[in-house]
């Protein structure tokens, strides 16, 4: 069962061999390291760029202008902030020239807390990303979905920001990626670079298949009737785990939706669920002011006001300048099981 880093690697390999990816680049992305999370090890077209995020994003835009499919990486989203105007530019390129150019580019970056990364390896970027019209923004939560969504991102004719929850990077999936060998050990032997000298190493890629997770489609992870929880990335796994426990304990029946795509987002799935449960909680770990969950809560209020039994709720990261290193500081700053559970209880008790 591949972990997320391996699934990215396999998707990129599939992209290089089947979908026309010509350049994969970023800081430490090429040999010998293959990415600080090993997500780009062994790839034919992966190379190391200068330590220059603006150069990376600019290069991706330029490649996109020539129609060259590329996947660029910003090592941590904490370091993407100095490229904001270039992200704006990528987002407005097609629009501002009335469609004369499109940018078929993917920009990946690890996001979020959960690896004890302190102030500058724990930032989230989904709220800001949702303010970049022209980009598609996605955040998968399992290795298989990462694989399928990355293939969709690569083939999309628009710029796609591929946010990878870094705390999930090493978590093994529960489902096999089609083509992946049956055991973790076999996969590792095939595609993980050896320690030490790697100069002679080449990966043995499994015969991978084309599996897609379409951009813009959410997934109902657990069906329920009492309330709806909508989340993505790392926190959706936490929401699911809490919902399962509450279901098992007979406390409540919560429907859990993995939004997967932040823009364009799958309102129809969310809406149908809210119409059924009449209560909704939006969870993510970006800071709470102003948060993408607030947009969804606003929309729920606006469109479903008379069907709601309680005000839509948003549980997000505290509006603090950073994630403190100490465990207690990190735990209090972004939603975890206990906070999610408490919110669910509270919401379940509310009646309009």
């Amino acid at each position: 069962m591949a972990n997320m880093a391996q699934s990215i690697r396999m998707a990129l390999h599939y992209g290089e061999t089947h979908l026309g990816v010509k350049e994969i680049f970023g800081q430490d992305v090429g040999p010998p390291m293959g990415g600080v999370f090993t997500a780009t090890q062994g790839l034919k077209t992966a190379w190391n760029t200068p330590l220059d995020e603006r150069g990376i994003v600019g290069a991706a835009i330029g490649l996109g202008l020539t129609g060259t499919r590329c996947v660029a990486e910003i090592q941590f989203c904490d370091y993407i902030f100095n490229t904001i105007d270039l992200l704006k530019l990528a987002g407005n390129t097609s629009w501002s020239c009335s469609g004369l150019y499109h940018l078929p580019i993917v920009l990946m970056t690890p996001v979020g807390a959960g690896i004890r990364g302190s102030i500058y390896h724990s930032h989230s970027f989904d709220a800001l990303a949702s303010r970049l019209p022209g980009w598609k923004v996605v955040m998968p939560s399992t290795p298989l979905e990462t694989y399928g969504m990355l293939l969709s991102a690569i083939e999309d004719p628009n710029p796609v920001l591929f946010l990878v929850p870094k705390a999930l990077m090493r978590i093994k999936g529960e489902e096999l990626i089609p083509g992946e060998p049956g055991t973790e050990k076999e996969l590792k032997a095939m595609i993980d670079a050896p320690l030490g000298d790697r100069s002679q190493w080449t990966p043995k890629w499994p015969a991978l298949k084309d599996v897609r997770v379409p951009i813009g489609q959410a997934k109902v992870l657990q069906e329920g009737t009492d309330l709806t929880v909508v989340s993505y990335g790392r926190s959706v796994r936490m929401c699911l785990s809490e919902a399962q426990k509450l279901e098992d304990a007979g406390e409540m029946s919560a429907e859990v939706i993995d939004l997967r795509s932040i823009y364009p987002y799958d309102w129809q799935t969310v809406k149908a669920s809210i119409e059924k449960t009449r209560k909704v909680l939006f969870v993510n770990e970006d800071t709470e002011v102003t948060n993408f969950g607030e947009h969804l809560a606003y929309r729920a209020t606006r469109e479903l006001f008379y069907e709601l039994e309680a005000p839509p709720q948003v549980l997000a990261g505290l509006n603090v300048p950073g994630i403190g290193l100490h465990n207690d500081l990190e735990e209090v700053s972004v939603p975890h099981g206990p906070q999610i559970r408490a919110e669910m209880f509270q919401l379940n008790q509310l009646r309009a």
């Binding site: 220059d52 603006r54 600019g58 490649l63 020539t66 009335s98 022209g134 987002y265 309102w267």
Partner: protein, 340 residues
Amino acid sequence: MSQKLTDSSKTSSLSSELLVKIHDLMVKSRVLEERLIKIYKTGEAYFWIGAPGEEAFGVALGLLANKGQGVEYDYFHLHYRGTPTLVAMGLTMEDSIRLIMNKETDPCTGGRNFSNHYCFPEWNVVPVTSPIEVQYTVAIGTALAQKNNPKLGITVVTGGDAGSAEGDFASSLIWASRPGNELPMLLTVQNNRVGISTAYEDQHGEEYIADRGKAFRMKTMVINGLDPVESYLKLKEAYEYVRIERKPLLLEARVSRLYGHSSASGANFEDSFSDPLQTFEKTLMKHSILSEAEIKNIYKKYEDESWEAVEKVRSEKPPRAETVWDHTYAQGENADWRKF
């Protein structure tokens, strides 16, 4: 017209046919820009920014282009003073006027952007955008795509002197000169010694901006961009070097800013700058390549053309408000969240 004009500082020379052609394009560009200014001043446009004073350099840059679409041809990452280059490449007055008047027919932006924010995919002219210097980082990407192309297309970038303070300028020097991975980039700086109101001396410790390329073992040139002969000859050499060697070159050209920064500062003629067109015309007359009457006729031809273009474009439709979401995404995909 067999006489040749010899540039005093060089042994090479240009044929009088070419000189006449360069002059013609410089006049066309100037008359067009002056027409754009008038359009602004009569309240028919919101904003003007453009390139009077950069014609000698800009026309040569456009004339020497290997023009076409795709990586086999040269890419152009221009800033907001690109009219002379594009006039030399074939820009029509009508299209430039459609852009400043933000008409539905504006082929570059469909009424969405300022004057001089051109975009012509058929000539690899990628969208001009307002944030200063981003074109230097974006250009890295087109040059990467051209690096190994046997057809020898190159990437050309233009920008101002003040803009070179941005990190993107340094980015382009670094990325263009990685040993073994040099990029075919003709990086140019049009130095008019001012950025809006900030004097060159307030910003630059370096005597020549081009010298910054030397630290990257880059070939550099400082040229008189007010002199069309020098501009043409030096740019020819620069293009050839980048095209054949597949290596970057940083070229700084001295230019003028004849009508101020933009309409925001009034767009009035400033005689503190020297006018490359007047100087060139004196030389052409001195060498009997063109007479005063002939020169007047050229202006008249373009005055008439510009006026006819205005009359025509004026009656064209504005963009429709309901198209505002169009092209946010490719292939007509809906981008309006209200419709998801």
